[in-house]
Amino acid sequence: MIEKVLVADRGEISVRVIRSLKELGIKSVAVYSEADRNALNVLLADEAVCIGPADIKNSYLNFSSILSAAEITGAKAIHPGYSPLSENLEFAEACQNSGIVFIGTGVDTMSLMADKIAAKREANRSGIPVVPGSDTALVDEREALGVAESLGFPVILKAVGGGGGRGVKVVPEKVDFLDSFHNAKREAQDYLKNPGIYVEKYLDKARHIEFQIVADMEGNVIHLGHRDCTIQRRYQKIIEESPSPVVEKELSEEMGEAAVKFARSVDYSNLGTVEFLVTDSGEYFFSEMNTRIQVEHTVTEMVTGIDVAKWQIMLAFGERLGLRQEDVEYKGHSLECRITAEDPFRFTPSSGTVTRYIPPGGPGVRVDSAVFSGAHVNPHYDPLIAKLITLSRDRDGAIRRMVRALSEFHIEGIETTIPLYKKIMKDPEFINGYRDIRFLDKYI
């Protein structure tokens, strides 16, 4: 059994992973940039190594710093959190070459799912309907326009090597296409390894429904139910819940089975999330699969009572999945609000020292955060500062609990999006399960 794990991420997820390691009796090593010297993960971990200056490229994304830190501390495994390293093939391979266990899925499945078109092709092959779109990466604008026309507008442009909402553009009409295509290409070239763009039919009003997959290295695969992550701002999720207010149990089971079938067909191991788009009429289409632990794994944990982060570590060390699909039970409804250090209505980033931090508590309230009174929120990094999660018997209860929890949550010294969520939780459309997300336009 591995005795020491290096956690190669920062912020709330690094704290989440360290907590799981502590419960498993495994020593933890935190890595930090000079800007994060007094961060919570550094305080909680058994050991900590400074790996570079504030900027991410030379610290948290610096392979050799991180692998060196594992070497000097004797850590035999690395947990990449949900940092870009968690889906970085080269990093996973570098770990392998150094004899270090990479906590996550295998290099083959990571590579497959990182190529969004290849992943769709595989899903199609395993019999799952996929979002209609181009089956190759497109470079030539005329060819791309042709594909868009055959699909019918509106279409959506996505980066082949993207994911997590990066490089996504909706093109409502033909007249907007060429400009959008140029911009999408340029963005992909500038920010991503893979400059390829693909076109898909834009399914307006579709719900984003994703399934948590858990798999061991012996071919046992199950799902832990679904999450509805439709509420997004610029393709970034802001509110997630489990289960979805609009997906019936039967449809969920069918989709869950399809997700498991797909994962099994590619010999998937460890954690993964299969994303579907579900239309008004109940049709579902495979969109992509993410191979890292997700920010919103929390709502799945609340509803199933299963410690997903802990399982991820145990599975990486070869533990057999003792659970069968029929053992998974769902109780109640869980909601999560991603609280970020941003102006609640203009979303301009906010940074500085948190002068007062009073988190909510009580039954059915969970806060995953790395922030505390006196903590410094740095503009260099992701603005997520806390995840506020509630659990109750049903959706109404979860919403009311969220309203109560938000009213107790005091963060001073920086701006946060707490006021935004207070408004959304009281919105009648949200409370009714909303038909589409246009109701959000008045807030974001």
Binding site: I51, P53, S64, I72, S98
Partner: protein, 138 residues
């Protein structure tokens, strides 16, 4: 001020953002400057040694590690260390090696000076920004 006291002071400031510390005690004044990231230094002010009763000024510069790895005083286990306490070094001289992922990185000094102390034991792990040597610039 003896070497142990200086080492203790260094240990104190190593975990912080402090880049310069000045200590005056019974006629002695010690200034320690840490250059984070690079080893460039401002030339120390002239110290007045000639008159009796005037404190002796010393400005020391800490050489910090630009990477994570293992610290070695010599090019190989059998060879003598690159520098010793008291060694005079010229700009470009190698002070030590920080080995990372089986690669030996030579750490060079960017100014002329005298090594006044070695702060890390041979073979010890070092992190980014950790002080390795104290040098008195000349």
């Amino acid at each position: 001020m003896n070497l142990k006291e200086i080492k203790d002071i260094i240990k104190l400031i190593d975990g912080t953002d402090i880049s310069e510390i000045e200590i005056e005690r019974s006629g002695e004044r010690l200034v320690i400057k840490r250059s984070l990231g690079d080893s460039a230094v401002k030339k120390a002010g002239a110290s007045d040694k000639s008159k009796g009763g005037v404190p002796e000024d010393r400005e020391l510069v800490a050489i910090v590690s630009p990477l994570v790895g293992s610290f070695y005083r010599s090019p190989s286990p059998d060879s003598p260390p690159f520098v010793e306490v008291g060694s005079e070094v010229r700009k470009g001289d190698v002070l030590c090696i920080v080995e990372s992922m089986k690669l030996n990185n030579e750490i060079e000094v960017e100014f002329d000076g005298i090594v006044t102390s070695a702060l890390v034991e041979n073979g010890q792990p070092v992190e980014y920004g950790q002080s390795l040597f104290l040098l008195e610039p000349i």
